[in-house]
Symmetry: D2
Subunit: 231 residues, 4 copies
Amino acid sequence: MSEPGRVFSALKAHCRDDWDAFIRHEFVRRLGVGDLPEACFRHYLGQDYIFLTHFARAYALAAFKSDELDDMRGAAATLDALLNSEMALHVKFCAGWGLSEAEMAALPEAEANLAYTRFVLATGMAGDLLDLLVALAPCVLGYAEIGTWLKADPDSDRSQSSPYRDWIEMYAGAEYQEVAQGAIAQLDRVAARRLGPDPTASPRWAKLTETFRSATRLEIGFWDMGLAPPA
Amino acid sequence: MSEPGRVFSALKAHCRDDWDAFIRHEFVRRLGVGDLPEACFRHYLGQDYIFLTHFARAYALAAFKSDELDDMRGAAATLDALLNSEMALHVKFCAGWGLSEAEMAALPEAEANLAYTRFVLATGMAGDLLDLLVALAPCVLGYAEIGTWLKADPDSDRSQSSPYRDWIEMYAGAEYQEVAQGAIAQLDRVAARRLGPDPTASPRWAKLTETFRSATRLEIGFWDMGLAPPA
Amino acid sequence: MSEPGRVFSALKAHCRDDWDAFIRHEFVRRLGVGDLPEACFRHYLGQDYIFLTHFARAYALAAFKSDELDDMRGAAATLDALLNSEMALHVKFCAGWGLSEAEMAALPEAEANLAYTRFVLATGMAGDLLDLLVALAPCVLGYAEIGTWLKADPDSDRSQSSPYRDWIEMYAGAEYQEVAQGAIAQLDRVAARRLGPDPTASPRWAKLTETFRSATRLEIGFWDMGLAPPA
Amino acid sequence: MSEPGRVFSALKAHCRDDWDAFIRHEFVRRLGVGDLPEACFRHYLGQDYIFLTHFARAYALAAFKSDELDDMRGAAATLDALLNSEMALHVKFCAGWGLSEAEMAALPEAEANLAYTRFVLATGMAGDLLDLLVALAPCVLGYAEIGTWLKADPDSDRSQSSPYRDWIEMYAGAEYQEVAQGAIAQLDRVAARRLGPDPTASPRWAKLTETFRSATRLEIGFWDMGLAPPA
């Protein structure tokens, strides 16, 4: 199990079609070429604000469930980053789109949002740290793949006038990519500690791939929601 | 707070439209008049099997979160009933519809199912026993209202030949109605213990009504799912 | 891993001295020969009542954390047995010793009790079902060994006049021994499902043995407490 | 409920004798006058390292259980401070006492430590955020009172040569006192949000005072442990 990222690769290999449907979703493609309706993007941004609070709670749960100081520190750092800098960035970003924090905090939570976040939390609570990290992985790692792909894709609108340029730059940027590399390495490390040198040979592997697939499908549901803003 | 069922009544009063949309849902009405497509009912039954396992886990959580022996005993009795008799009844009922337990256990979980059950579990974990009981209430108490209404409704097909007669009899029956009365009384009791003599005056009341409304909407989502069986 | 009870045997082998100090504790030996002061036994009985309520909550947590229906059913059955029959037996037994349920429910919880029960609950919440079952094992399985040993020990006072004869018969009896056999089999089964065919080769094994050792030492602390009744 | 610190004052008033036994414990008094045996202090420091990791996990749980962003942010900031700066300070402080981090991480956990930390975690998990904050309060707020008292006490050895001067300065210092003021204010705020304007009138108040008393007694047990280093 020395190849870095082997756990993430193995999880993706089990749900390749779902993974591609998430990464290459119509919402993402239209965001890339720049013709995503602004109402869709604004709807997504507002729900993403709610999503971030529950995602932060999931990292708090990861800190609680960690046996090892390095895992606890990693989870606490992510939690702190989410609450005390990423949310501020998000709020600032949304302000540029005419969405105030008060407005976002008052939004009703979309069912796709609720489904995804509570699935992650309940999976983490019922299982162990590894179950939780696998449920968190599609979001953290998928956005890194999406950012990289959109930035490199010749179809993307990389002009200054693209309304979604900053969003793409954020996820394609070095800072976010580093977060994703850390999450990939943590998956390898925690899987090795809990399942041994070959995680895919563990009796738990089938259930972990199911968790990853479910979370990936819930990401698809989140994009679907973005395409269907309330009237 | 001496009027029995006052907490349940107050919760419903806050989301009357959603509550009615759940109780009088097209799935329910068509089940009553007997023209619900069998594929819809069978889809619902299979998902309900998965639902019951997570619902049982929610009652286990309620037992864990109880301070008082009577609440713990009540939750344990419900858990035992769900796992060791209701699921057997459900399996037997489904066998009559040509669905084997092995088939149901192998079904993919619908998103509406996942959303609802994980919302209940995550609400219960993050909050206290009362938060959990309020999240559980729409299911337990809604089915009792549905059973009573369908049995009394002149539009219902109460003939021996109605395919859904047994289902209606089960939820309209004395045994299920007694379970529901117990849940209504427990809501009053736990709310009094945690919020005082006038629960609606508590600063927690607004959030509890939101939890009840969300769970009610997730019930609507469950019926919507029933109407859309996989091809 | 086909030898029944291999996980329990391997756990004991890691803390043989602690295990023996628990099973052959002065409290147990004096209970066997019949010269344990009655104040000690009564103190133990009162604390054991409190212990049983938290132990029941731990089985509720086990049901919540189960992936498989058979584990959930087993935990729910134990929970139901604890709350709805064992506690009644305990109350009846204690009444014979002049301890009413109201008195026991009003007792302050001894620190040894609090330490043990909260360790089990916190271990179960932070970890997975296997962590929880291993934390529960010394109590369930130790009492079965104690009962068997005391009943067979030639030093034991097995006369009708022994004040502790009923206690010994209870834990040596077929019903309790069957519960213990079930718990031993469940440990093998859950360990196989979560760690694979050779649980002792898992990277988690060291931590599991530490959990088992800690719980065993907390049992010793519980007997120590029994020997030191409040003045 | 406008008087700041009213909840903390009311909790202390319910267990004044236990609170004084904690604050004015022989360990603390001897630390103040400077004649605490160094073996006791070193034993305490090593166990305190283990304590901090579980205390950090309790703040992670508090972040998970928060409904409001400000509570979540407060808990996350404390968690981050504990893991990423206080533990480093503690490690540096202990190095001055000849204790390396590797040594401390390898120490067996004392029962008094395990009892206290698992009580806090299990109380928080079974209850809500307020239950958890009340269980955490004696530690956070007691150390602030101890620091202030020892610094002001004319019996204290405030000379440069006192071995415990730095410890006293740390807890008497402005930075720690500010943390304590924040915790006091959070208790008022969360109690108001969950119990209403007069928390002492809530039906939950009796149980909250019991939690506070238990945690205070577990602090006493922690000092007792400090006075009894392993041979």
